[in-house]
């Protein structure tokens, strides 16, 4: 078995109010970053997983997101990277 580091991004679903993201957008606008159209603030989870291959590690991470790490009602997730450790 190899070890892989799978990184997952989880963000509030677009269209749902993200008050933290909105506060940051407003602050960025106040600082002159007028080009910022939307900010969403979520979580970045780093998983060290034993698996046969990178693909198997990602499938496992996906199952973890579906079952626990992300709330399917309010959040979207995306696997950001998978590297050997």
């Amino acid at each position: 078995m190899n070890r892989f580091r799978v990184s997952v991004h989880i963000v509030p679903r677009k269209g749902l109010l993200d008050p933290q993201g909105k506060a940051v957008s407003d602050a960025l606008h106040a600082l002159g970053f007028a080009d910022v159209e939307d900010t969403r603030i979520g979580r970045y989870i780093v998983l060290d997983v034993r698996a046969e291959s990178a693909a198997a590690a990602e499938i496992s991470a996906q199952a973890m997101c579906d079952k626990l790490l992300a709330n399917p009602v309010t959040e979207d997730y995306q696997i950001a990277s998978t590297v050997t450790v």
């Binding site: 749902l16 109010l17 008050p19 933290q20 506060a23 626990l68 790490l69 709330n71 009602v73 309010t74």
Partner: protein, 230 residues
Amino acid sequence: MKFGIVTFPGSNCDTDAIHAVTDQLGQTAFALWHRDHDTQGCDVLILPGGFAYGDALRAGAIARFSPIMQEVIAHAERGAPVIGICNGFQVLCESHLLPGALMRNAGLKFVCDWVHLRVEGSAPMYLNGYQQGQVLRLPIAHGEGRFAADDDTLDQLEQNGQVVFRYCDASGNVTDASNPNGAMRGIAGITNAAGNVIGMMPHPERAVEALLGSTDGLPLFESLLARVGA
């Protein structure tokens, strides 16, 4: 009637619920631990307020996998009463016993206050002691109480009479100003389709004696006693 009050690590309203059930309602309360596999024959299960597992990841997300939750789910599927208050409501949503989710308050702050609620919907098990449209005054104390669901789910909840409490002003008008957390459509409490599982952010168990400011929570429990039997 036997009430089982579940304590998760981080629950902090379990004693309030036991007090309401025993001292105010004169019923029997059993303290159930999150690791228990047995609900000791309780007729009603209450998931109380607090911060189960420190709200790690999301409020209610970890509590959902406690051994006792398997029993709570089985109890609910038999059509028996389950009440989730505040953090308990979050646990019921994470467990998929109730639809939707509870997100961070729109104002980003923890809100500890009294609110007005309008009674509606059709859940006789819990609402028989109230009039439709009656305005209640109950306390809230939460940081993640913004009810959210997709439009289809919200429409379905309303059509089925599963929305039982909405935040309102003292006259019963549902307005943005009377919504303490930005909950969609002002929703403060819902039931499942069968009407035996109820989840609500406000605290009826803290509004059962005049000395503490309100008795508006009492009819919810009394409805249950009348329905399920004392």
